[in-house]
């Protein structure tokens, strides 16, 4: 006990600590506040939410009596939540497929080095600078079906004018369409992003590769099918991860555009969580929805993060 002090001091003087350690210590001290903040605000808070979802806390006064998985059982038996999960599946699959396809098509077109490429690129990327709230407000107006007395508005009016009045629809006011109307707005906002990613990827493919295949007698389509698309797989994976986690969490856009919609036809888990927690004060149930959301996102993200950590260590 008495000896440790002089020993440390001797080591200090011997130079090993003096030369290297101060900087090492400062390095750790510099990142410590951030790491601590993430530890508490991300992992600690998730832990608390998970705990709260196992309690009976269903009003403003915290009640931490343990109920086990009861909240989850009740949730899965709630009609609104069942609709929400179905909507999430519909929204995610449609949104991902359409954005990827559209983004890829736009990138291929722009890759042809057409004139005014810069202008097109800026135009397509422009929606990304906007808030989902702005997009939602504008699209709510565009897809507003109008009323019988005042006539059509927005897109319906446009369809009327170009003689496609038959395609008019109630959009988000029609329970059969519901969340699919939100897909339109989301695709409008995000497909430019996919275009930018694919364009960067296409530009990274050496021209010779393409030419060699063409010389070998491959058709333009075959070149894309067998050479370009496989080379772009890593980008498609990254794009799926990004769109996927946005899609599972979608909230702002739905709030601003449609709200839960008729018969919850455009409702999503994030919105249900907000309603039940901060309007209904049913904290335990809200925590349960939040944890289910987190599990869905983690199932998508964690394998990807581990994969990129591994590949980075290999490098």
């Amino acid at each position: 006990m008495v000896q440790t002090k002089p020993l440390a001091a001797a080591r200090w003087r011997s130079g090993r600590w003096r030369l290297r350690n101060p900087d090492r210590v400062i390095a750790v001290l510099l990142v410590l506040p951030s790491l601590a903040a993430i530890a508490v605000f991300v992992y600690g808070f998730i832990g608390f939410t998970a705990f709260a979802s196992l309690t009976r806390w269903d009003n403003l006064v915290p009640d931490f009596s343990w109920v086990g998985l009861e909240n989850y059982f009740r949730l899965f038996n709630t009609q609104r939540f069942q609709i929400d999960l179905r909507n999430t599946v519909t929204f995610t699959s449609l949104f991902l497929l359409t954005s990827l396809a559209l983004g890829f098509a736009l990138a291929v077109l722009l890759d042809r080095r057409i004139r005014g490429e810069g202008i097109f690129r800026s135009l397509y990327l422009f929606p990304l600078a906007l808030s989902f709230i702005v997009t939602g407000v504008v699209w709510r107006w565009l897809l507003n079906p109008g009323s019988a007395e005042l006539g059509s508005t927005g897109v319906n009016l446009l369809l009327d004018r170009v003689g496609l009045g038959a395609l008019k629809s109630g959009w988000y006011t029609d329970p059969r369409i519901g969340i699919k109307a939100v897909v339109i707005a989301a695709v409008w906002q995000m497909s430019g992003y996919m275009m930018a990613m694919y364009l960067a990827g296409l530009r990274g493919i050496p021209e010779e590769l393409r030419e060699a295949a063409l010389v070998d007698g491959a058709s333009e389509f075959q070149v894309y099918r067998h050479i370009i698309v496989p080379l772009l797989h890593p980008i498609t994976l990254g794009a799926l991860i990004i769109l996927g986690h946005i899609s599972l969490k979608i909230f702002d856009l739905v709030v601003a555009m449609t709200g839960p919609g008729p018969g919850f036809s455009s409702d999503v888990p994030a919105l249900f969580m907000f309603d039940t927690t901060f309007r209904g004060n049913n904290f335990a149930q809200g925590a349960g929805i939040a944890i289910i959301l987190l599990v869905m996102v983690a199932a998508l993200i964690v394998p990807y993060l581990i994969y990129s950590l591994r590949t980075e260590v290999q490098r």
Binding site: R24, I26, A27, L30, V31, S34, L35, I38, F41, V42, Y43, F45, I46, T49, A52, L102, L123, L125, F126, P127, A129, L130, S131, F132, I133, V134, V137, V138, W141, N144, T153, G154, V187, W188, Y193, M197, A200, G238, A239, I242, L248, K249, F251, D252, V255, A256, A270, F274, T277, F278, G286, I289, A290, L293, L294, V297, I301, S308, L309, E312
Partner: protein, 255 residues
């Protein structure tokens, strides 16, 4: 093409109104959206716009500073377990914020930051750590290690190297991070609506949603409000689009 139609329609917002009310085309709806209308009883978004400025500017600066230091340490002063910690940090970027909102509100109200702009600044800085650290770390990875080693041999310490070697060449990364953070904080809705329930304190996106959600407000005023609320990020995009692009691609991890 959907995108073009979408963009055109955005401009047509004004055209439609012009057709509907040709005699009254003026800045009227913009003034109404900005100042509100007492007779119709709704708030304008002007004070909320300034709330957003007071929120986004300091939060952007703070999180850029933090991200720069973190990125510097995690790329040039790696300690054991640094990569694992970094991955744990990154996960914070993807979580649905719903999973932290309940304890967040509890904590903020306990420390007296609930319902205030400083509270929102704090929240955005904390949850901005992962993305800002990521962008700076990727940027510093391109800075040759010899530069740091040479400065070390010259006897510079960790902070000295940061100040005299690393910080002066960080401007491109600062531009990317600040544009990214400013845009996301300005466009945020979830934290705004949860942390600041009082209309007078809310940021502009929450105010816009309230404006658009009220049935007494005409469509043209809503559109004018949307345009006003989007103006700063639109401006950033038009003026600094190049850096905006880079932020997007950086945000897509190693894509």
């Amino acid at each position: 093409m959907l995108l073009i139609t979408g963009l055109k329609s955005f401009e047509e917002v004004n055209l439609y109104r012009m057709w509907d009310l040709p005699t009254r085309f003026s800045l009227d709806s913009f003034l109404k959206a900005w100042f509100g209308s007492e007779s119709q009883g709704f708030r304008g978004i002007n004070s909320n716009f300034w709330n957003s400025v007071r929120l986004a500017v300091p939060a952007t600066l703070l999180s850029a500073a933090l991200g720069s230091l973190n990125g510097y340490v995690l790329s040039k002063w790696r300690f054991r377990g640094a990569d694992g910690l970094f991955t744990l940090l990154l996960f914070g970027m993807f979580i649905p914020y719903q999973s932290i909102l309940i304890p967040l509100v509890q904590l903020l109200s306990r420390i007296g930051l609930y319902g205030t702009i400083p509270g929102l600044i704090f929240v955005h800085v904390v949850y901005g750590i992962p993305i800002t650290t990521l962008i700076f770390r990727n940027y510093y990875a391109t800075v040759p290690g010899e530069l740091v080693e040479a400065a070390k041999i010259d006897g510079a310490g960790i902070l000295g190297i940061y100040r005299h070697v690393v910080f002066p060449i960080s401007m491109p990364a600062f531009a990317v991070v600040m544009i990214w953070q400013f845009t996301s904080i300005w466009n945020d809705f979830l934290f705004g609506v949860i942390v600041t329930p009082r209309p007078a304190v809310q940021p502009v996106m929450v105010a816009l949603n309230n404006l658009a959600g009220s049935y007494i407000v005409e469509w043209n005023v809503q559109m004018a409000g949307a345009l006003l609320a989007a103006l700063p990020t639109m401006l950033v995009y038009v003026v600094l689009g190049r850096y905006f692009m880079r932020g997007l691609l950086a945000g897509s991890l190693k894509g």
